[in-house]
């Protein structure tokens, strides 16, 4: 069995509270003996590589912010399994609408470090051309992208395509009206959307317990979506659930909601101070459930990794970090005069006059 062939979630192993989990926090595999051991080993090595690269990239970006090279950074540390497990489970042409912390998913799709950093260095308001990656730019005003994903899916429906649209959001964004509107519109139209909620427990300083009285995945019943809750720090479980629900959506079953329970190990952003609102003991408890070390323990126990493999991933991660730093430092500020041509399809007279006046004023300081 490879998790990508799972189309039903009925028989997946669950914790006592109903959350789907394949691997315990200490690395024990919970699936039965029917698992294709070698295939699962290959998959887990791929996913591990994606998570390790993302974490190294994230650490480097964090360091670049602390060194003044980025204005702001939002770490994805702790959420690598939720992101890599889900993005790896969908087709490369399934179209993704991320929020703003999906660096691990973006890297998996091949987006370059420079493109992931330019917005945070303050040299652009978005990073990359979505088309080649089937990955829309980041959306910073929460939950707006859920409606974009739903509208895109309405277009997919009209095109008769079997593309699935995947959109990421968090437990905080789930409180936005746009989130409810999007799930309702997707359900009433049976639009091919997977709503992927990373419940990382904190919306800046507000705990998820203050955002929602009921678990987010249970809202699905009210809207008429299929849903599952999964251990978001278990990359195999996330992969299995996403595979199953994406194929459910692709086969015309209507939209789905996945709630991945994970944890934001860093602050909301590099401007945040999480010591003001959460305890060290909570952080320690989640460190013990770390998605990356969990996979290392699993691979070791199952004989899926050896030193050569781990060294190879380490070397690749170091190279990515060096490349990240190099590409970051090469990012130059744009010319504000060019912005005037990006507002509308043409440059109206008044805007042209503003541009000309600005350029003339600026040029008056030269020489």
């Amino acid at each position: 069995m490879s998790t990508s062939t799972i189309t039903s979630t009925a028989d997946l192993p669950r914790t006592s509270d109903g959350c789907i989990q394949f691997v315990t926090p200490d690395g024990q595999l919970r699936t039965d003996a029917s698992v294709d051991h070698d295939a699962l080993g290959r998959l887990i090595r791929d996913l591990y590589r994606g998570m390790r690269l993302a974490r190294r990239f994230d650490d480097e970006a964090f360091a670049l912010q602390r060194q003044g090279e980025l204005g702001l950074w939002l770490q994805c540390r702790g959420q690598e399994a939720a992101q890599v497990g889900s993005i790896a489970a969908v087709r490369a042409d399934d179209f993704v609408f991320p929020s703003y912390r999906e660096h691990a998913a973006a890297l998996w799709r091949g987006i370059r470090p420079a493109d992931l950093l330019r917005q945070w260095r303050g040299v652009a308001n978005s990073g990359w051309d979505p088309e080649p990656y089937s990955f829309h730019i980041y959306t910073l005003v929460l939950a707006a992208q859920l409606l974009h994903a739903t509208g895109y899916a309405l277009g997919v429906q009209r095109d008769g395509s079997d593309t699935v649209v995947v959109t990421y959001f968090g437990d905080g964004a789930a409180s936005e009206g746009d989130a409810s509107e999007a799930m309702n519109i997707a359900a009433t139209n049976q639009a091919p959307v997977v709503f992927f909620c990373q419940n990382n427990h904190w919306a800046i300083s507000t705990p998820s317990s203050s955002q929602s009285r009921t678990p987010i995945h249970r809202r699905a019943a009210g809207f008429g979506l299929r849903s599952e809750q999964v251990d978001g720090n278990d990359v195999l479980a996330v992969h299995a659930v996403t595979s199953a629900l994406t194929e459910h959506v692709r086969s015309g079953g209507g939209p789905a909601l996945i709630e991945a329970i994970t944890y934001r190990m860093g602050g909301h952003s590099t401007s945040d101070d999480p010591t003001r609102y959460r305890t060290d003991s909570e952080l320690e408890a989640w460190r013990a459930k770390d998605p990356v070390t969990r996979v290392e323990a699993l691979m070791h126990a199952q004989g899926w990794s050896d030193d050569a493999f781990l060294d190879e991933v380490q070397a690749e991660a170091d190279e990515l970090a060096a490349r990240t730093r190099r590409e970051c430092l090469a990012l130059q500020a744009p010319d504000l005069a060019d912005a005037f041509a990006t507002v509308l399809a043409d440059v109206p007279q008044l805007l042209q006059e503003e541009r000309d006046a600005f350029v003339a004023y600026r040029d008056s300081f030269l020489d």
């Binding site: 895109y152 095109d159 519109i185 041509a341 990006t342």
Partner: protein
């Protein structure tokens, strides 16, 4: 002769025939044909996939239209009434308007947001507002007002065919007024971003749009009986603003009055007045006058006639600029 409402309907029909990527969505636009019947019969002829009755969620209408546009469609949204657009404000201002600039010019969002606008029809609260200044203040949007059947027909087609997001205002009080619509073979219509001189004059320029165009023309005709030659300009596009046509007129007449239904305080007339002041200062014979709504929430229907500019208030302002 078609009513403005029928002219819009025909314009939408032609746009849908011209391009099968054009889709309509909004509350009650399908089976009912919209509360003003602007989309009457279109779902029957083009099907439910192209004329979508949306859920009752304005942010959802505009937000999904953005997604449809990203997929290659050309959505035309109907916001049922002017006062219902505010739930969609974030999607319009932060998402729709900014996408092109955020992507450095790469991504166009050809979305038209139709809004029945303004008062004068005895409606209840939130059904008579003029909120164009909010959107004119937002870079990345085109904001246009039709005022006649002919413009309604051609401007909606131009708005849909263009690659920019357009806030398309339809003055409710003019929906049932008939006018000629220029036939297809009569040459290209006036570009969407150009103002129209609807009445030539040499003494004063009235600068207006939407539901006030007819009021200003009536005022000009009344003034003519008193020997005053009043020019009326229908701005049509308030963003971008056709400042060249405004400038040419006011330099000639030396006097300008701006007329709109929205409150004058921080209203769009303030922008026009400022443009006229800097561009035509040495031609001006009098300060620019503004006639508009008072700085109040839109009043109950029984007193809206006192709130809205009418022929007499426009003529009063004409008197003031001619008094100097």
């Amino acid at each position: 002769m078609l009513t403005l409402c029928q002219a819009l309907n025909r314009g939408l029909r032609r746009a849908m025939e011209d391009d099968d990527k054009v889709v309509l969505l909004g509350e009650d636009v399908g089976r009912l044909g919209g509360v003003f019947r602007v989309t009457d019969g279109l779902q029957k002829d083009f099907g439910e996939a192209r004329v979508m009755d949306s859920t009752l969620a304005e942010s959802g209408i505009v937000g999904t239209a953005i997604g449809l546009a990203l997929r290659g469609y050309r959505p035309v949204c109907e916001i049922q009434f002017d006062g219902f657009v505010y739930p969609a404000f974030n999607q319009i201002v932060s998402q729709l308007a900014k996408m092109r600039a955020r992507t450095n010019g790469r991504t166009s969002l050809p979305v038209v947001v139709r809004i029945p606008v303004g008062g004068g029809i005895g409606a209840v609260e939130h059904h008579s507002e003029s909120n164009e200044a909010y959107f004119a203040h937002t870079a990345g949007l085109r904001v246009v007002y039709c005022a006649s059947a002919d413009d309604a027909h051609w401007m909606i087609r131009q708005a849909i065919a263009g690659d920019d997001p357009v806030i398309f205002y339809e003055p409710k009080r003019r929906y049932w007024v008939k006018g000629e619509v220029t036939p297809e073979d009569a040459g290209p219509p006036l570009p969407l971003d150009r103002a129209r001189v609807v009445r030539r004059g040499s003494d004063v320029t009235l600068l207006t749009y939407g539901g006030m165009v007819a009021t200003c023309v009536a005022a000009a005709e009344t003034a003519a009986q008193e020997g005053r030659d009043v020019e009326v300009i229908d701005l049509r596009s308030i963003s971008p603003l056709d400042v060249r046509t405004v400038e040419e007129s006011v330099r000639r007449t030396g006097r300008a009055v701006v007329v709109h239904e929205a409150p004058t305080f921080a209203g769009f007339g303030a922008e026009i007045a400022a443009q006229v002041m800097t561009r035509c200062f040495y031609s001006l014979e009098a300060p620019v006058e503004r006639v508009g709504g008072f700085n109040l929430p839109y009043p109950p229907a029984k007193v809206e006639e006192e709130y809205l500019p009418d022929l007499d208030r426009v003529l009063d302002a004409v008197d003031r600029v001619l008094a100097g």
